[in-house]
């Protein structure tokens, strides 16, 4: 996967008319968008459709891309807007993460069996607790802790301030820590496990 700064360069090239750069953008953005959209919608076909719409919106608006700006928060903001509009139109409910589906993504398959079992159990609990959080906290936590966006980028995607994102993420983190009774580093460790697992899945 291309690094974010390479994506900005690719987007800049695409804005200048280099058609081949769109493939680089797709390869760098689409898997991340798909992961995020799948967690939000729990609908594989819908998430794929939204990825397609998001990429085509980026294509249509390429000439308006500001030189030197960040493409990742912009792409996430478009995806989120399309998802919310689609749900409003279709009167779909915003679904929380499905602990059973997501549990498998949280655990590395190479871990010993007892660790695998324990991690899967705690990961399942983590996701159940995540689903109980208010939407604003859950989305902020998702963008920052799972998608790796900076606080400033997440604030731009959500149309709010950096302090608000910090507060929401912190509250989500504290709520999860309180509910799971875990040590401060445990949640990050679980999320790191998930990232490793997801990267392995992305490369396979």
């Amino acid at each position: 996967m291309a690094e974010p700064n390479h994506l900005n360069v690719a987007m800049d090239r695409y804005a200048e008319g280099d058609e081949a750069a769109f493939g680089v953008l797709y390869d760098g953005l689409a898997p991340r968008l798909f992961g995020y959209l799948l967690r939000q919608t729990r609908d594989h076909a819908r998430a794929e459709d939204l990825v397609q719409q998001t990429m085509l919106q980026i294509h249509r608006a390429r000439g308006r891309f500001i030189k030197g700006s960040e493409v990742v928060p912009w792409a996430f903001a478009i995806a989120r807007r399309l998802m919310i509009d689609g749900m409003r139109r279709g009167k779909r409910e915003v679904l929380a993460n499905d602990p059973d589906d997501a549990e498998a993504d949280m655990v590395s398959p190479d871990a010993p069996a007892d660790q695998l079992f324990e991690a899967a159990e705690v990961a399942g609990l983590l996701l159940k607790e995540l689903a109980k959080l208010p939407e604003s906290q859950r989305v902020a936590f998702d963008l920052v802790k799972r998608e790796g966006l900076s606080m400033a980028e997440a604030a731009q995607v959500l149309g709010t301030t950096v302090s608000a994102v910090k507060l929401r993420t912190h509250r989500a983190y504290e709520a999860l820590r309180g509910a799971l009774g875990t040590a401060p580093g445990k949640i990050d460790k679980l999320l790191t496990t998930a990232k490793v697992r997801a990267h392995e899945g992305g490369r396979s």
């Binding site: 689409a30 608006a61 390429r62 000439g63 891309f65 807007r81």
Partner: protein, 220 residues
């Protein structure tokens, strides 16, 4: 960051769809914005000249000059605040845009009141309702070309807060119209300026918010 395996078929489909639907690159967008801006400026000035240009009436020249310079600066600031996006594709924060939308009209009025208080002779009797209405309508007409130019330049580009962006752009367009109407209309009664020169800015901010949701937002 997370990533998930996507079917190769989707990649092919997206790239093919992008090839089938050509989109303007940066140079083409720059040209269309320049064209829209030129049309807006020319139509606004054309209308101003067609209506008779500057009418000082009984107003001292200094008051008109000071008011116009101040209102021009406010219009530039409002345009910079509403239309500029800084270094982000997601534009300025909603709070910033709301300040532009809400503060432009009171700033205009305060600037006007400051100078008319220093030159009380600039005040005039309040005209008939018909004059208020005519000036209000003219101000709205003056604002149309800048508003259309702003909307053309920013259409379908705001995934986060299109209403706030629309409101700020509406206020900025209203500010330019305020400058034109203040030069054109010789009536300097505070009530008239409030109702016919400043209130349209508020009206345009509201109209801009309505328009923003429909035109500036991302649509399927």
């Amino acid at each position: 960051m997370s990533s998930t395996r996507l079917p190769d078929e989707l990649r092919k489909r997206v790239l093919e769809a992008a090839t089938r639907e050509p989109s303007p690159d940066r140079a083409a967008v720059r040209r269309s914005i320049q064209l829209a801006s030129a049309v807006a400026v020319l139509s606004c000035l054309g209308l101003f000249v067609a209506l008779g240009g500057v009418h000082l009436g009984t107003r001292p020249t200094q008051v008109v000059a000071l008011t116009t310079v101040g209102w021009l600066l406010i219009a530039f600031a409002a345009t910079w605040g509403a239309f500029g996006r800084g270094r982000s594709m997601l534009g300025r924060p909603a709070g910033w845009l709301l300040v532009v939308a809400l503060a432009t009209a009171p700033t205009f009025l305060s600037w006007f009141l400051m100078w008319t208080m220093m030159w009380p002779e600039a005040s005039a009797p309040v005209p008939a309702f018909g004059i208020h209405l005519a000036c209000f309508t003219t101000t709205i007409v003056f604002s149309l070309s800048p508003l259309v130019a702003f909307v053309v330049a920013r259409r379908g580009s705001d995934p986060v807060h299109p209403r706030a962006t629309g409101a700020a752009l509406g206020a900025a367009a209203g500010a330019w119209a305020g400058v034109m109407i203040d030069l054109h209309c010789p009536v300097s009664a505070t009530a008239h300026v409030l109702v016919s020169h400043v209130a349209p800015i508020v009206f345009l901010a509201i109209a801009g918010a309505w328009l923003g949701r429909r035109v500036l937002g991302i649509r399927n």
